[in-house]
Amino acid sequence: MLAFVSAVGRVSLSFMETTGKSCLMLFHTVAGAPHPKLFSLFIKQIFQLGILSLPIIVTSGLFIGMVLSLQGYNVLVDYAAEESLGSMVALSLLRELGPVVTALLFAGRAGSALTAEIGLMQSTEQLASMEMMAVSPLKRVIAPRFLAGIITLPLLTLIFNVVAIWGGYLIGVSWMGVDGGAYWSVMQGSVEYMPDVMNGVLKSIVFGVMITWVALYNGYHVIPNALGISRSTTQTVVVSSLLVLAMDFILTVFMFGM
């Protein structure tokens, strides 16, 4: 019994320590003068995180759109409402599936890559040697990646949504026989720009902040050996995925529930 109580205490303390350390890291990354080369480093990171993630995002988008359309048709046809397929596909994607699935894929591909890269730099003393050359590793290495992550995820989500909706069109219209014109017009009638499209983008911005922050924290505070790096990488994927799903619920309540 006592062991349980002390375990709870231990976990709480380590949780608070982690939260404190990660806030400190974030503060030192963004506060103060930015690195003079920030912009070009930032562009390079957008390439690493965004463009190299495109293949998986586009492929997943296509498949998810197609499956959504297929399953949606099967359900709607029972209510003779199959003409609303376009609306169903678009709203599901814009509000939920687009931001969340893109975020989970991003956490797995880009988040783990970030943690592994920073973790490796930390364990081979590259970051320490940078510090000894009077260059702040937080400003030069961490900050560009952080900013790039925040910008890249919303951009990827937009591309995901478009590809998925088009995939839905492909299956729904060309295969299942829904009227092409109806697909788009019903969709346009029910989808609204501010509540649906922009809320989805807002969600992905929040997810981007969280995933990138977790990934960079885990890399920067890695235990400097091979086991430590692999543990940190796994932790990034697990923790950021859970955070995405939890924040999604909270955001959905505020955006659509009230």
Partner: protein, 156 residues
Amino acid sequence: MSQKKTEMWVGVFVIGAMLSLAILAFNVAGLSLKGEGRSYTLYASFSNIGGLKVRSPVKLGGVVVGRVEGITLDKESYTPIVRLAMFENNGYYPETSSLSILTSGLLGEQYIGLQPGFIDEDIAMLEDGDRFEDTKSAIVLEDLIGQFIYSLNKEG
């Protein structure tokens, strides 16, 4: 990879994402750049607005000619008053026109249907701030069922 090539790819990526946003805005959400043009205000009161919401359309023969801007309650007569924004593009309507609250489809959203009245020399056109006189309220399902049962009973 050289700096130039990286920048080019990043530029392509960002443009692609912006294009996606545009597609989502215009083709999916149906945003219209032309906007709905200028509008003038008309009022109407109904005894029951049913499921009418702000931004519900006003349709004449299926064509959207205005939008519901606001719904308030008249504190003296205890009737709802709907404020309508009618598009100037679609012109003006005679004061004999009637409004009814209709439902699109069986389970669809409610909208206001406009039926233009007959036009004569002494019939004026409704202008900014005027009120529709002829309005039919939303059909409340319970009343309808009640009427139906009553008529059944009467026959029986």
